[in-house]
Amino acid sequence: MDVKKAVSGYRRNLTIVVGALLAVFLVLPLIVKTPYIINIFILVFYISTMSMAWNILGGMTGQNSLGLAAYMGIGAYTVCLIVTKLNWNPWVVSILAMLVTGLIAGVIFFPCFILKGPYFTLVSIAFAESMRQFIINSEFFGRASGVGLPFGEDSFLQFRFASKVPYYYAGLIMMVAVYAIMKRIDNTKIGFALKTIREDEDAAAAIGINPTKYKVIAVVISAVIAGFVGFFYASYIRYVDPDLMVQAKSTEFVLPAVVGGAAYVEGPLVGGLIMIPLSEFLRANFARVLPGINMIMYAVVLLVVIRFRPSGILGWYMDSNFKKFIDEKILKKPSLDVLEEYQMMNYESRKGGK
């Protein structure tokens, strides 16, 4: 019974902390009305989501893609083109956008999965860049000037609002949902397969994991999320052009994960929440005098983290006394043995119940 009490107390404390954090985000737009600030948070939401999409491939599977922006671009283009040309409902098209990006990632990219290490990275760049070049040269895709979405009255059905607040909530939901999916994957068979592949492909094969199959799964999940973010982005900006797909954007999506800690599901969120507001603050205040200052800050933080805290901010936190203090004093986290015992007790009772 002691075990049960300790674990449920810990769970309650954890729920309170997470709930409080969510509540802050939920009421924020009611207090802060500046569109500028709201916009920053929308950026945090969708860039962190992109970073999570990268993380399942890079952090979890160890396949360092540097072309994720291209999938986001494909999603955005799919939405803009079909909504303007065929006049379909954008929500329906968002599903289509995910299918298209998933297909492109899984089918066309398929032969590239045999490539390992740096070669995979090179191909991901080359692939993204050739798709961008294709779009720039295609009349259908509006060449370099891009494609826009129709403006009009506020409408949920059209996912079209004059105010930024609805996008804020949509973005928040998107980020939390993707986080929940990632957390789930991390704890299931797929997650263990991906992590095993990251550590060693031969060892993965030895226990019965088909590396290619799981790499395809990871790439497709990653691309599908990117496709959906593309839909969100297009609906928010109401416009897409090939500049969205440049390699610098792909890099920008990776940074929160690496700075936050790529080995952790929460890494991209932590990195995004710290880096993006900082970057936007610098951009807003210094960009006129010192263009590129926000990217310099990004680069310096990245270099410092890699040089001195190779496992990212979260990796640092995990080993710190600060975490010990929070775990023991605030969350009252029981020891790993107790948690394990509790998990097994539940399992036994469920097995017994059957």
């Binding site: 704890n187 299931t188 068979k189 263990f192 397969a193 992590k195 095993t196 990251r198 550590e199 060693d200 031969d202 060892a203 993965a204 094969a205 030895a206 226990i207 019965g208 994991i209 088909n210 590396p211 080995a263 790993l336 394990e340 998990q343 097994m344 539940n346 399992y347 469920r350």
Partner: protein
């Protein structure tokens, strides 16, 4: 020998760009036994092993498992056939805890766990069996060689194999650790797992194996009980390096 062998290897040959690493090797592994494979460095033991486990396709020859031809099976299909292996160069999942290392294995193979709880339960069972239970929350890269070798076996055992291939599982261990490892391997065998192992340490081979295959320069030069093999004049020549062998090398 009326019983059918579990593993039967016929005329296995591997050539790397003209270099013949393994030449026409045939042998069989009896169900429920421990078979050893020895030979000097570079004799082609690991290459043979990697071919049997599906990592290299053989240039020629066939591999049968319970009478079924498995020559062209891929490495990741083996645990589904109840065969598992370890690596000579240990491949622990460095950034995962020992427990997670074994949980990952429990999710795959013929008896793949359906849920996280089932996987955890089985992983704990295996960890207790291999004596790693106390260290289950340690990151595997932070463990010493003997424990990593144990973990290699634990990860293989978690797939519930009927046949286990051990690739130099005792290299680099001191005598006490070797004795423990021998004990563990015997325990695994007694639980009904057929074992084929590569080993350099003769003490281990003599005390464990009922049959030994000796490879030299990619060819099988002897086969039999440990005593038979060790009294074989050619094997002694190879291991002790007599004059006739030196002449051969010099040619």
């Amino acid at each position: 020998m009326s019983e059918k062998p579990v593993i039967e290897v016929v005329g296995l040959t591997k050539r790397f760009k003209g270099l013949t690493a393994v030449n026409d090797v045939s042998f069989s592994v009896r169900k429920g036994g421990i078979t050893g494979m020895i030979g000097p460095n570079g004799a082609g033991k690991s290459t043979t092993f990697n071919m049997i486990c599906g990592y290299y396709p053989p240039t020629e020859g066939k591999i049968y498992y319970n009478g079924e031809d498995i020559t062209n099976k891929r490495a990741y299909e083996y645990t589904n056939m109840k065969i598992a292996r370890t690596f000579q160069i240990m491949k622990p999942l460095k950034n995962l805890t020992v427990l997670d290392n074994v949980i990952a294995s429990c999710y795959f193979g013929h008896a793949a766990a359906k849920s996280r709880e089932e996987a955890t339960e089985r992983a704990i069972e295996v960890l207790k069996f291999t004596g790693l239970y106390e260290k289950r929350h340690v990151l595997s890269k932070e463990m010493g060689t003997p424990d990593q070798k144990r973990l290699e076996m634990a990860r293989a055992l978690a797939t519930k194999p009927e046949v286990l291939f051990l690739d130099e599982n005792m290299a680099g261990l001191n005598p006490t650790e070797t004795a423990e490892a021998i004990e563990l391997i015997r325990k695994i065998n007694e639980s009904g797992v057929t074992i084929l192992l590569i080993e350099h340490i003769m003490q281990a081979v003599v005390s464990l194996c009922e049959k030994v295959i000796v490879l030299h320069h990619g060819e099988k030069i002897a086969e039999g009980t440990p005593e038979e093999v060790m009294n074989d004049p050619y094997v002694m020549e190879v291991y002790l390096g007599t004059k006739s062998e030196d002449k051969k090398e010099g040619e």
